[in-house]
């Protein structure tokens, strides 16, 4: 009687207990450890500086937290202003392919005797105009009731290998577009 035997066998099988408790204690232990770790290393940033792939920033012992400003990102290959790539550097023919090759500007990118970067100057002027327009529309006023003056801060985020020659041209260009204070960004050096 195979049919009856099957029913008997099924009845004799051990049933799982109705209440199945998941052991959460060990999970809770892990969560507490993770939470304490996160609280210990927690750091909040009040700015929204973005970065680009492949950039290697230098480290600094400075403790000044940069407030939000317009920023220029300089990689060994190009220049980015407010997330828009505006300049691509070139390698000189003699140095192309060499490990010590130096990237530089195209002659057409510069004016004023090779000191000013044309594309960056145009972008900075546009940004300044936009900022002044926003200040004009804003309700924030100074003591005399006039719109707040343009501050002219420019954050510079550069790869650690970028030469001063390039940074100097950017600073000069920014100054001609009325950005008179430069904010050099670096990664915080953990002591």
């Amino acid at each position: 009687m195979p049919f009856y035997r099957s029913i008997r066998q099924r009845r004799s099988q051990k049933k799982l207990s109705y209440f199945f408790d998941l052991q959460l204690t060990s999970m809770l232990d892990i969560f507490i450890v993770v939470l304490i770790f996160l609280l210990k290393i927690y750091a909040v940033s009040t700015n929204s500086f973005s970065t680009v792939n492949g950039i290697k920033l230098p480290y600094s012992f400075s403790l000044d937290t940069p407030p939000d400003t317009l920023q220029v990102i300089i990689t060994p290959e190009g220049l980015t202003f407010e997330n828009n790539r505006i300049i691509d550097f070139i390698q000189t023919a003699s140095e192309a392919g060499s490990s010590n090759s130096v990237y530089t500007f195209k002659t057409s990118d510069l004016d004023e005797g090779g000191r000013r970067i044309v594309a960056l100057y145009d972008a900075l002027l546009k940004a300044k105009e936009k900022s002044e327009l926003l200040r004009l529309k804003s309700k924030a006023r100074d003591e005399k009731g006039k719109p707040l003056p343009f501050e002219g801060f420019l954050a510079i985020q550069a790869d650690k290998s970028v030469r001063y020659d390039i940074i100097r041209k950017i600073m000069y260009t920014a100054a001609t577009a009325d950005f008179k204070t430069f904010r050099f960004l670096a990664l915080k050096h953990e002591e």
Binding site: Y42, V44, P58, D64, D159, Y164, I167, L185
Partner: protein, 181 residues
């Protein structure tokens, strides 16, 4: 005579389970919030103004002859000097070509600060090939005081009280932005 023990069976104790689910819910929310709002790369900054050229300032400078402490970076050495000969110029050889000896620069500047505690400005003149990492390292050495450095005091012009100085030369100005060197 002792009383006879009860023959009634003891009831089994009910095991109490703490309900950990809401605690875990809170933990998950907290961890998610912390991970979402955390800055993994902490950025710091160093401000530097563009040098302004004003004929009146130049005339005033020539009269007053300020310290105008200048640090000139070269491929093989660093020179610390003053255009008005307020200090004895000092040349510090680089550790490697293009890599200045930051510690020696810092120590020399600390000596200068001891003579001119109220001075805050310093002019940095890097050469064209100086990389950004070196500029940041030199600026750190020029701006910040270390724990082992001597303590400096200067009179606060607002209230006339001597206050401890926290920075060495915090106002770094680039000296050759208009030049070609």
């Amino acid at each position: 005579m002792f009383k006879r023990p009860s023959s009634r069976k003891r009831k089994p104790r009910h095991q109490i389970f703490l309900n950990l689910v809401p605690i875990i819910d809170t933990m998950v929310v907290l961890i998610g919030f912390l991970l979402f709002t955390m800055a993994f790369l902490v950025l710091v900054s160093m401000d530097s103004p563009f040098p302004t050229i004003n004929p009146q300032d130049i005339a005033k400078k020539l009269l007053e002859k300020p310290l105008q402490l200048t640090v000139t970076l070269r491929e093989s050495e660093v020179e610390i000097w003053s255009p008005f000969q307020k200090i004895t110029p000092k040349k510090i050889p680089n550790i490697m070509p293009g890599q200045p000896d930051i510690k020696s620069i810092h120590n020399t500047l600390v000596e200068v600060k001891q003579k001119f505690p109220a001075e805050n400005k310093i002019v940095l003149v890097p050469f064209a090939g100086t990389n950004y990492e070196t500029i940041i390292a030199v600026m750190d050495g020029m701006r910040l005081l270390e724990k082992i450095d001597p303590v400096f005091f200067a009179k606060n012009p607002r209230n006339g009280i001597d206050e401890q100085i926290r920075f060495l030369f915090p106002e770094v100005i680039f000296g050759n932005l208009l030049g070609d060197s």
